[in-house]
Symmetry: C2
């Protein structure tokens, strides 16, 4: 695996992960297992149905999640992480770890700023 900048493949991973709701959707499926469309919607109160469907479809197209349709009325659709999708977990963990530390750092900086002012 070449590490020279010219051979950068970071964007290949970013393409998959980037999307307003993709990381949080992946965390739900990774940590809580299979979920129905409606359950995800309930856990993501601010997402619209259109966006939820769109993000799920994009993840499905890349084999990150699996979509299982039950032909019944009313319809039932279940989403789950694929093995391949699970391979993203170290990346998501690393980002969550860094992100947690980053927000800490930011609030500390702001505290210092406020001290200076007062």
């Amino acid at each position: 695996m070449e590490k020279k900048p010219e051979n950068c493949r970071v964007d290949n991973a970013l393409e998959i992960i980037v999307g307003k709701w993709k990381p949080i959707i992946l965390l739900h499926l990774l940590q809580e297992g299979t979920k129905r469309h409606g359950e995800l919607k309930k856990n993501l109160p601010d997402i619209t149905q259109k966006m939820l469907t769109k993000q799920l479809r994009e993840l499905e197209k890349e084999d990150i999640i699996e979509r299982k349709v039950y032909s019944q009325i009313p319809p039932k659709v279940e989403y789950s992480i694929t093995d391949y999708g699970r391979s993203l977990e170290p990346i998501l963990d690393a980002m969550h770890h860094w992100g947690t530390n980053h927000s800490l750092r930011k609030s500390q900086k702001e505290a210092i700023q406020n001290d200076k002012i007062s």
Copy 2:
């Protein structure tokens, strides 16, 4: 560090890294050390000056890189990774690793498709 989806901090990290040219800029600075504006431009043939400046400014604002200006004519400006920026390396490595494997996987899939057709 809570790992429940509701406490997701992945986006905090994504915000910093996402940007058409940020990952590759970071790799250059991480792996080749301090660089002048013009050197980066030369290594990134397709970037416009406006975009290069914009991406660098955004990284600087987050303390990921440092900008050092030499007051002389003609001007000289050097960019380098900060210690804090270096803390992103595990994330970038993980994404590069995953991304390399992902493009391999994709080309294998395409090969299978072509076999089926012919």
